[in-house]
């Protein structure tokens, strides 16, 4: 080959071709998506995220969570993601328009967490049905260590009672057995700060059947709502069942804020087989001053702090959990078919509208 000019032009040309083809044209095609809304312009999805979410995303990035946890649900034909209950539909570009950085990731040494917020138990937002309510759920009892320790001592802490196969786990058992942290002010605050309106049901509603249970066919709602709260049509065709069987009796309800904290602090106290490292540096062990903090983690066995000490989450840990609680792609998208057409059709009563609060206007940019 002779002469520098053709070589240089060729080198530049191939690069430019690739750059335009692989980044510029896609950017023109899907780089300027807007949130979708219904005809009245109310049911807006997705919505801009809170400041805690943004900071939680940075904690997520800093500690490399994405090297083990992906955040993308593949379509039915391309994998068992939906069958595993990681979502009720495939992820679409529109799900991510407010996220930066985006953690699609491509490694699953841990579970996919695109919908981990949707798995949060329903009682995070509303009181559980009367039958399932444990004494600890009363406002006073939840914060008192004595009351929350009582049900736990009934079960041997070292012996995790796993529910066996995914399909056969009765949700009611989990609920009645757990000393539900629902009434804890911490969880309530964190949830309201973090959860996207799509998943937040009217708070304080006495109804045992919150709209979320019906409206969103999310596996979380499936796994955690009591059988009475879920209507037959939505539970009938879905054979999904709770896909996360490893639940130790005596822990906070799975995927609740309190559960995430315990899980981050000591993953193997919740699931013996877990391969996740502990993130204790996000937590602070301190001496109890006059009263045990409401935020203190409910730890058992060798993880429990010595008498007179407590473990509380740092602000980073709270942001990280707020971030996790807000990961929720269960809202239907027009361009994607959700698994099970029936529940999708019944979505009409939007949770945001039911809550009575005007939805935040979708900011075009962050």
């Amino acid at each position: 080959m002779k002469g520098l000019a053709p070589l240089f032009l060729g080198i530049f040309g191939t690069f430019a071709f690739s750059w335009v083809g692989m980044t510029v044209i896609p950017n023109w095609q899907i780089g300027h998506l807007s949130p979708q809304s219904d005809e009245e312009g109310t049911d807006i999805y997705p919505q801009p995220q809170s400041g805690m979410f943004q900071r939680g995303a940075r904690v997520f990035a800093a500690n490399g969570c994405a090297y083990c946890h992906s955040q993308q649900v593949r379509p039915e034909y391309a994998g068992a993601d939906i069958e595993r209950g990681w979502g009720n539909r495939r992820s679409a570009p529109r799900d991510y328009i407010f996220e930066r950085p985006v953690f699609l990731a491509k490694m699953r040494m841990g579970q996919d967490i695109a919908n981990v917020g949707a798995r949060a138990p329903a009682e995070q937002q509303s009181p559980p049905p009367a039958g399932a309510a444990s004494p600890a759920a009363s406002p006073g009892g939840a914060t008192s260590p004595a009351a929350s320790a009582a049900p736990r001592s009934a079960a041997p802490p070292a012996a995790p009672v796993t529910q066996g196969a995914a399909v056969s786990s009765p949700p009611a058992t989990q609920q009645s057995a757990s000393p539900s942290a629902a009434g804890s002010p911490v969880t309530a605050v964190a949830t309201s700060a973090a959860a996207s309106p799509a998943s937040s049901a009217p708070k304080g509603s006495p109804s045992p059947a919150p709209p979320t249970g019906v409206a969103s066919p999310s596996p979380g709602a499936m796994a955690n709502a009591s059988p009475g709260a879920t209507t037959a049509p939505s539970s009938g065709p879905q054979v999904v069942g709770p896909p996360w069987p490893e639940q130790t009796i005596g822990e906070p309800p799975m995927y609740s804020v309190a559960w995430h904290h315990v899980h981050l602090y000591s993953p193997r106290s919740i699931n013996l087989d877990s391969n996740m490292p502990a993130y204790r540096f996000l937590y602070e062990k301190r001496r109890i001053r006059d009263q045990r903090s409401a935020e203190a983690l409910k730890l058992t066995g060798s993880d429990a702090p010595p008498e007179g000490w407590e473990v509380i989450p740092s602000y980073d840990a709270k942001c990280l959990v707020a971030y996790l609680m807000a990961l929720n792609q269960s809202h239907p998208l027009n361009e994607v078919r959700s698994a099970g057409a029936a529940p999708t059709a019944s979505v009409a009563p939007s949770p945001a509208a039911a809550a009575g609060s005007p939805p935040p206007s979708p900011a075009p940019a962050k």
Binding site: M1, K2, L4, L7, G10, I11, F12, T14, F15, F17, S18, W19, G21, M22, T23, P26, N27, Q29, I30, G31, L33, F60, A61, A62, N63, G64, Y67, C68, S70, R74, A78, G79, A80, R84, R90, P93, R94, D95, Y96, I97, F98, P101, V102, F103, L104, K106, M107, R108, D112, A165, A166, E246, P267, S274, N275, P277, A278, Y279, R280, F281
Partner: protein
């Protein structure tokens, strides 16, 4: 100093060239000494540090409680620190050192503006140091292969601009009209890298694109870095070293032209196949898969060219360390490409997409292909810089076999483990933790392979250190791996 470095037989090409040409080469080599050794020494330091971190990462993956309570030693920080140290510290610096030396040789001119390169090496080291420090302190950006925070990225970019402008300047001073194949690849690498890096940084951090496109840009960058930067340097180096060592011209110039342009055209379109079935328009992923398939054209042409050049000369691998490493690397290029193609086909990708196979793929490209070629080049170049021959043939052999077995075992473990992990993941009746249990034994096997690689790198670093200290052999004959018949003066 033996400048021709051709074992066993009289060179056919340079036989015509007289003593003047040898003298000229010696002068050119001497002029490259300071900058190239600076790049090489830094690269070696990063290689050793990165190797230690790699072992740590590998063990922590199956022993999650190992030192997990210290924030900067958490797995999610050590892993990107290891990866970036290897990519930007070891591979990029060793690649640049090799490319600089090759440029000077092939432009047949004394290295000019050495200060430019010395400054670049200094800045580059500073950038990597700050970047890795930033990752440890929790400043990672969260984009794979681009984890370095902005303050490190800008320093890297400045350092790189110095190297690239030096390369363009060198081209202006070149003698002779003919531009050799290696120079195509090197000029490509020198120009592609800054464009890639700048484009990715701009689209992710300066004027960020929306949503999932960030991932698209990230993987476009990562794959192009692998092909257009590391791959181009390694292929260019192989095109120089193989004919040089065996003393025979490249089999076909025409094939090389086809190989180069199809490589540039097709491999630059890959990247999205790593996100197969992700939330993207299907055409993007399909285009990348098609590009992966078309990439078999350069693989076939380059492989054929090397093979035909080597034909009849394969026994020389018994003697020449450079040839042995380079041919191993060149063959790994084919393996790397074929594995890359297989795991991107949609029917296979659904099983392996979220498993350890992608780690196997990256290591095949960065280690079995790139690093082995660069090791070979260093065995050729370093004696010409320090004026000494490698001291121990046995250490070179140990290095080769530990590296070859290490990377082979690692790739096998990760591929097999990844396939099983992926198959389990596709079976929803198995609880998720089973899929992790399945892959753990293979990860322990990988740690074993890592020990082999660590040994290899320490041996090489020790040998390299001896050379730097001037403790190599004083001889006119290069160090052969096995004593050559009739001259048993080899090391030991």
């Amino acid at each position: 100093m033996n400048v021709t470095g051709i074992p066993l037989k009289e060179p056919e090409v340079s036989a015509a060239a007289g003593a003047t040409e040898q003298l000229e080469r010696a002068y050119i080599d001497a002029s490259t000494r300071v900058p190239v050794l600076m790049f090489y020494t830094s690269a070696m330091a990063w290689l050793i540090l990165g190797t230690l971190l790699a072992g740590f990462v590998s063990f922590k993956l199956h022993e999650p409680d190992l030192l997990s309570n210290i924030s900067f030693l958490t797995w999610g920080r050590v892993r990107p620190a290891h990866m970036n140290m290897m990519v930007y510290g070891w591979a990029s610096m060793a690649g640049m050192g090799t490319a600089i030396w090759l440029m000077a040789r092939l432009c047949r001119t004394m290295l000019r503006y050495p200060l430019l390169l010395v400054a670049a090496a200094g800045f580059w080291n500073l950038g990597v140091l700050l970047g890795v420090g930033g990752i440890f302190l929790g400043d990672s950006t969260g984009y794979q292969w681009l984890e370095f925070p902005g303050y490190a990225a800008i320093i890297l970019f400045v350092a790189y601009t110095l190297v690239a402008s030096w390369a363009v300047l060198m081209f202006r001073y070149r003698r002779g009209e003919q531009i050799y194949i290696t120079q195509w690849y090197l000029l490509g690498a020198f120009l592609w890298f800054p464009w890639l890096y700048a484009a990715a940084q701009l689209m992710l951090f300066v004027v960020p694109v929306q949503g999932v496109l960030q991932s698209a840009v990230g993987w476009w960058y990562a794959n192009n870095l692998l092909f257009l930067w590391f791959g181009a340097i390694a292929l260019g180096t192989a095109y120089y070293m193989i004919p040089k060592v065996i003393g025979r011209p490249v089999y076909s110039y025409h094939l090389a032209t086809i190989g180069f342009w199809t490589y540039a055209l097709f491999s630059s379109w890959t990247g999205m196949q790593r996100l197969v079935d992700g939330p993207f328009p299907a055409w993007m992923i399909t285009a990348s898969i098609a590009a992966m398939i078309l990439s078999m054209i350069p693989v076939a042409t380059v492989g054929l060219n090397h093979h035909m050049t080597m034909r009849g000369y394969f026994p020389l691998m018994r003697y020449s360390p450079t040839l042995r490493f380079t041919v191993f690397g060149a063959m790994s290029y084919t393996v790397f490409s074929v594995v890359g193609l297989l795991i991107s086909l949609r029917s296979v990708a659904r099983y392996v997409n979220f498993s350890q196979t992608s780690i196997a793929y990256s290591h095949l490209g960065l280690y079995a292909f790139f690093t082995m070629v660069i090791f070979g080049a260093m065995y050729y170049i370093v004696p010409r810089l320090v004026g000494r021959e490698w001291r121990y043939a046995s250490l070179i052999k140990l290095h080769f076999w530990a590296s070859a077995y290490g990377i082979g075992l690692m790739t096998l473990m990760l591929l097999a483990g990844g396939f099983l992990q992926g198959a389990d993941m596709e079976n929803p009746s198995l609880p998720f933790s089973e899929t992790v249990e399945t892959v753990l034994p293979y990860l322990r096997g990988r740690s074993l392979a890592g020990i082999l690689l660590t040994a290899a790198h320490f041996i090489f670093a020790y040998h390299f250190g001896l050379m730097l200290l001037g403790l190599g052999r004083t001889s006119t004959v290069p160090t052969f791996l096995n004593p050559v018949e009739a001259e048993t003066s080899g090391g030991h």
